[in-house]
Symmetry: C2
Subunit: 331 residues, 2 copies
């Protein structure tokens, strides 16, 4: 590989000057600068990333920790964050937590030795209490910590979140306005910060409409397709009767629709189904899925801005992205 010293020799200057030119140091004379650029181009020189990182004490990568790489929501987020990070001039390191607190903790321990530019935590699982000190230390050491999906601004961590509670409040009200009365909720609750919020919106909508909350209509499990299908199939088998279902994810909704159709029920005439997240797929299945929007692109744009920003003031620590109801044929 070509090194700074090679470029220096070629341009008839010292390595220090090569470095100055490449780092946009204004003090170098125009004439020398041009000679250096010429040499850089003709040798196709690229500074060694590790040497630069070591010297500067800060590398060029950003780590993204996703809660569950198998969920469409995180896949969409990964895609937009990858591109945001790249646009900001950094490289993206990808890790999958798979909802494991232990993996999160292991990574946080390792992070300080990696000279990360930033650490983006996209998980709705509660951040273990004993991690918050380490995370704040990271943050203080020049590695900006960013939470996506969960509000950790109280820990001094920049957070980009979506509205959760207002979303299901809106959508369940819509179901009620359509005349639905026995409305179920299906999604992960235990240990999920966002799941709990979505569920609260559901309960609030029932309560505001004067409908009774029935715990038998609540299905708590993972966000996957199979979970949705199995839970609803089981519920139907055991005689549970609903006329609408609010899902905690689009995957659950799709799985539930399959179970309903397999049981000979019609969606939405017998049972309306409401998704959550508006994944790509939602508009391509039949019946097309009514759902609540997500905006991974906007979330990623916020992350990109945080990557570039200097010191953050308190009010910059939290951004909330709204969701809207996207009406399609399933409700």
């Amino acid at each position: 590989m070509t090194k700074a010293v090679d470029v220096a020799r070629r341009a008839g200057v010292s390595p220090a000057t090569v470095s100055r030119v490449l780092n946009g140091n204004e003090t170098v004379s125009l004439e020398v600068r041009e000679r250096v650029f010429l040499a850089v181009r003709s040798l196709d020189y690229r500074p060694n990333a590790m040497a630069r990182g070591l010297r500067r004490g800060l590398g060029v990568s950003v780590a993204l920790l996703v809660g569950d790489i198998e969920q469409a929501h995180f896949v969409g987020l990964t895609r937009y964050i990858q591109s945001a990070v790249e646009e900001a001039g950094f490289d993206l390191l990808l890790y999958n937590l798979g909802h494991s607190a232990q993996r999160l903790s292991g990574f946080v321990d390792r992070a300080p030795s990696m000279s990360l530019r930033a650490l983006v935590i996209a998980s709705s699982d509660g951040l273990a209490r004993d991690l918050s000190a380490k995370v704040q230390a990271l943050n203080a050491s020049g590695c900006r910590v960013i939470s996506v999906g969960q509000d950790l601004s109280r820990l001094g961590i920049a957070s980009v979140v979506h509205e959760e509670r207002a979303a299901t409040l809106l959508s369940v009200k819509h179901l009620i306005a359509q005349g639905r009365r026995r409305i179920g909720y299906a999604g992960r609750l235990a240990g999920s910060a966002v799941g709990t919020e979505r569920f609260r919106g559901y309960k609030a909508a029932l309560s505001q409409a004067g409908l009774l909350y029935d715990p038998d209509l609540v299905f708590d499990f993972s966000y996957r397709f199979t979970a949705g299908r199995n839970a609803i199939a089981r519920a139907l088998g055991s005689g549970v009767r609903i006329d609408a279902l609010q899902a905690g994810s689009d995957e659950i909704a799709v799985g539930a629709i399959a179970a309903l159709q397999d049981a000979g029920l019609s969606v939405p005439s017998d049972i309306a189904v409401m998704g959550f997240g508006n994944i790509d797929l939602a508009t391509h299945i039949r019946p097309a899925l009514t759902t609540l929007s997500s905006h991974p692109d906007i979330a990623a744009a916020h992350v990109q801005q945080l990557l570039g920003a200097g010191n953050l003031r308190k009010k910059d620590l939290l951004s909330v992205i709204s969701r809207s109801l996207i009406l399609r044929q399933s409700s």
Copy 2:
């Protein structure tokens, strides 16, 4: 951050010895080794990754370049490769080519300065001719280059591929055996190595059955949902008649099914649809999708093995993974 010198002081040895112990150098006496381990643990010391990488001339990250992060096929692959890379003790850097030869070329130029452990190229777009020299140089310099999905073994690059041609040969024969006679093909052909192979299998099946190949039944476009839906909707509108469709991806198949259903046609009784890839979704929509299997887990396992392997012999340069037909309700 704790440094080797801190650990050394604590253990009453030199930094060199700390390094020896941490790198499993057998020559260190048992007693000293234990003292060092103790100090390492009590200080929670982790060697700085950049310093280590700089000194060794080789870092701990593996870059994965995916052809198109929006396709389910690449998402599945990313997930398994992430975990394979991590199991092998490395970190995964993720890049999205978005089918851009320019982005690939830009990355290959930058790669040598990154001290990568390996470079995994998962794209079926033809590798530009002028890159092959650079890629081989990378390979020679200690950064193992691995191609997933496309056979580049003739360039000395370890390749893990799936059977493509035999797959559509099998599935189209199945459609013919079901009595289908006007069978369309929908998928990307131009510039796609795998697309071309799949298409060849389709043509071979027609020819072996004595059916006429009709170019009007071939739809060449991207692998996305929308592409499938639009192409089929347009074809139906312009009077094209088919009784079966071989798709080049599951997304295309799902999009096509939506277009068919929107046009009042029934799947599979009016038109059978065959997917390609067996993405998660395939089993959760109705009608469930008949398709050809993919094995991202097996591909990732091969990659993991290549990551650990020493010098490769010629016969280790290519692994081919078979596909099988997965019968469901859509055909």
